[in-house]
């Protein structure tokens, strides 16, 4: 009987664990180690962040779902990996520290035959002074929508701001990215338009100044180089579309910006042209940069091999080409296909937890040397697809032996869809539905932008808004393993 340990219960981890449990049946054991008691459909946190949804609507308890699927669930966080075992045993193990299940703080060494690292990112608030509290958590100057709890907090702050505006005090809203190396601009984009929509609904839009600040190199970049969109029968670039949308909704913007410091009611920033400036705010939602969760790795003799297993940013090394060099040399084939660790073949990484070989966007930095560019987005769809491929590979390795063929899923060969919506009503909302293929540009197959323009497209309208609603219910249904869950695509 083999044991597969999955670290993390987000989109990638949950997909890996549930499919592996289904394919392996009761003959082998699947263990999920996640510090969270609840599963969270993150895209809908935007609606929680403006008070249109409750936390309960976007989360559910993991324990009953894992019990139903026959998965051993340990509410704990991974601390360190011993892929070669220790001096007393050759068996690989992971040290975990419980965060719940009445065993908080207890350390356990969990042996494994295979391990999938799908921890997702650490929200690295402390990368920007003042954005974090210095202890790894969000500071108290800004809000975030990265977790359901953050989103609930954000909605309370928004309500306070609305009350102040009703009382006659003008409020300045600053939304965007909190560092020059952030990803997830789409979430902030969605949030700023939801805020704008809420303020109009509350009748206080004229009392608010709203400003966008981000590390994109052009407005409408969304961290993926922009796309063409269809708007009411016309085809227009996402840059022109975004510019007119911001102008129409009277939202100011600043891009190519690295938020260098956050204080109470004020951010300092540096632009790509080297200039520095300040922006005041009453309400700010700034997305933090991502980093690996900081798992250590040790060799059999106890020596630290973290640098062998993980990249400097804390994400796990996989079968990617980390030596691609300068921008002009980047190729689609640099991107990983099997997500297997090159040193330890029983170790895989899925979702945000794997170390990308390099950026997707063109690397840029200010004259002072500060890098300011979006980092590779790894949204739910690629994470789910990668998670399923890794589950397939591990199941084959367990059932067919070490010579089994590994399943492949390269981000340079898969598309991604995303829906950014403003407003939540059935008839009042509007949304941009976007598809990108491939996620990582393939300059050899598609000379020019590196993308297939037939499948890299966006559309604006009410229908996109409905799709966002449908996705919300569909993915929570799937994650709860309700009947027919395997038929719902990633």
């Amino acid at each position: 009987m083999a044991r597969l340990v999955v670290l993390g219960g987000g989109v990638a981890g949950h997909t890996t664990a549930t499919f592996a449990a289904k394919w392996l049946g009761s003959a082998h054991e699947v263990v999920v180690v996640t510090p969270n008691a609840k599963w969270n459909w993150i895209p809908s946190n935007i609606w929680v962040g403006v008070g249109e949804m409750t936390k309960e609507e976007v989360t559910f308890d993991l324990a009953p779902v894992y019990a139903k699927a026959g998965i051993t669930y340990k509410q704990a966080k991974a601390v360190s990996l011993n892929p070669e075992g220790n001096e007393s045993s050759d068996k690989s193990f992971v040290s975990i520290e419980y965060t719940g299940q009445d065993k908080t703080g207890t350390i356990e060494n969990l042996e494994y035959d295979y391990i999938v690292n799908a921890t997702g990112p650490k929200l690295n608030f402390d990368a920007t002074p003042g954005l974090g509290d210095g202890k790894g958590q969000m500071g108290n100057h800004t809000v975030s929508v990265c977790t359901a709890d953050h989103a609930v907090h954000a909605s309370h702050k928004l309500q306070e701001a609305i009350e102040k505006m009703k009382g006659g005090t003008r409020q300045k809203f600053l939304i965007g990215t909190g560092h020059g190396m952030c990803t997830c601009q789409g979430a902030a984009f969605e949030y700023i338009f939801n805020i704008e929509n809420e303020l109009r609904k509350a009748g206080v839009r004229d009392m608010a100044d709203i400003k966008w600040i981000s590390n994109e190199s052009f407005l409408g970049d969304f961290g993926m180089g922009g796309i063409h969109m269809k708007v009411g029968g016309y085809v227009v670039s996402s840059k022109l579309f975004a510019e007119s949308l911001y102008a129409e909704r009277n939202i100011e913007w600043l891009i190519g910006a690295h938020t260098s410091k956050v204080e109470n009611g004020k951010v300092e920033y540096e632009l790509l042209d080297g200039s520095k400036g300040e922006e005041e705010f009453d309400f700010a939602m700034l997305i933090p940069p991502f980093a690996g969760v900081g798992i250590k790795a040790f060799a059999k003799d106890g020596s630290d091999i973290t640098g062998t297993v993980f990249a400097p940013n804390g994400f796990m090394k996989v079968d990617a080409n980390y030596g691609a060099g300068a921008y002009e040399n980047w190729k689609a084939s640099d991107w990983p296909r099997t997500y297997q660790n090159p040193t330890y073949s029983n170790m895989f990484a899925a979702g945000i937890a794997f170390a990308p070989p390099h950026l997707i966007s063109k690397p840029m930095s200010s004259p002072n040397g500060t890098p300011i560019n979006p980092t590779p987005p790894r949204t739910g769809m690629p994470s789910g697809i990668i998670g399923k491929a890794v589950a397939h590979s591990v199941c084959d390795l367990i059932t067919k032996g070490d010579s089994a063929h590994l399943h492949e899923a390269s981000m340079a060969e898969m598309g991604a869809a995303c829906v950014a919506s403003a407003g939540k009503g059935v008839f009042s909302g509007t949304a941009a539905a976007m598809t990108v293929y491939p996620v990582v540009p393939d300059f050899e197959t598609f000379p020019g932008t590196g993308r297939d323009t037939d499948y890299t497209f966006g559309e604006i309208g009410l229908a996109g808004h409905w799709i966002k609603h449908i996705l919300h219910f569909l993915f929570i249904y799937k994650a709860k393993l309700n009947p027919g869950w395997t038929l719902i695509p990633e």
Binding site: S217, F218, G225, G226, H228, K230, G233, Y234, V235, V236, S237, K239, L240, S244, L254, I255, G256, A257, L271, L272, D273, G274, S275, Y327, E328, K362, M364, S365, P367, A433, T435, F443, G448, T449, T453, D454, Y455, F457, G458, E459, A463, G464
Partner: protein, 273 residues
């Protein structure tokens, strides 16, 4: 080499600006072509897109006759608004009032791939904004207000749609198939309702006979619709793949109506014979 500038009514491509990755002879030749074309046509600036090249390259002729070469330019900050009467070589002599940012901050690379930046205001800011828009496949038409756009459209011989290369049409032939299906189903519904008032078996039998032909025909039309609509959708690259979902959805809804009609026909006409 002097290159031909793409002009209305030739549609602009749906491609969009590609970041220059290799700073080589090919790039330098493109810059020289842009300079030659600017001089020949006495222009103030040109983006590579205007001569059919999709690289993010803009060349501006300064007042002293020297050239400003901007590779991978990007507008990062702005302030103020300014409305001027603009012309662009794509639309020849037709001008329009466009509102743009008065001051802009632009980052770009020079021919040695060195990161540079510039602050521009007034006329230069306007020209740079217009040229950067070209790199995204847009002319100043996308910057116009609805009123200005209508006014501008009336000055153009073929309207503005012509400038949209291979735009996604709003009416399709497949809609006619759907209309035929709907008309057929309305007729069959009338037959079902009408059969309530018929007592003679012979007439009911005739009605049932035609109703069955109608039902079979409608079902076949659904299949034709499903396949033809997908074929038609794929002909236009600018129509998003969302339409495939729309087509399937429309077919399913129509088939539900069809099933209800078939059941009603069977139980009301056939059973009463």
């Amino acid at each position: 080499m002097i290159r031909e500038i793409i002009q209305y009514p030739t549609p602009l491509s749906l491609e969009f600006g590609v970041n220059v990755r290799q700073f080589n002879e090919e790039l330098f030749a493109l810059i020289e072509d842009l300079k030659d074309t600017i001089n020949e046509n006495n222009l103030e600036a040109l983006s590579a897109f205007q001569i059919g090249n999709y690289k993010n390259v803009i060349v501006v002729k300064k007042e002293d006759g020297t050239f400003l070469e901007l590779i991978n330019p990007s507008l990062i900050a702005h302030s103020g608004k300014i409305t001027t009467d603009e012309k662009t070589s794509y639309y020849g002599d037709v001008s329009a009032e466009i509102t743009r940012f008065e001051k802009v901050s632009i980052v770009y690379q020079d021919r040695d791939a060195k990161d540079c930046s510039l602050q521009a205001e007034g006329d230069l800011a306007v020209v740079l904004q217009r040229k950067i828009d070209y790199l995204f496949g847009a002319t100043f038409i996308q910057k116009m207000s609805a009123d200005e756009r209508d006014k501008f459209e009336s000055k153009l011989k073929y309207g503005t749609d012509v400038g949209m290369s291979d735009y996604c049409p709003t009416t399709f032939f497949r809609d006619k198939i759907l209309k035929a299906i709907n008309i057929l189903m309305i007729f069959m519904l009338i037959v079902v309702v009408g059969s309530f008032f018929v007592k003679e078996d012979a007439i009911l039998q005739t009605l049932w006979k035609y109703q069955s032909y109608g039902l079979i025909g409608t079902f076949l039309l659904h299949i034709v619709y499903l396949f033809y609509a997908q074929y038609e959708g794929k002909k236009y690259v600018s129509c998003s793949s969302c339409q495939i979902g729309n087509i399937i959805g429309t077919t399913v809804i129509s088939l539900i109506k069809f099933t209800l009609l078939s059941i009603a026909s069977y139980f009301i006409i056939y059973s009463s014979m």
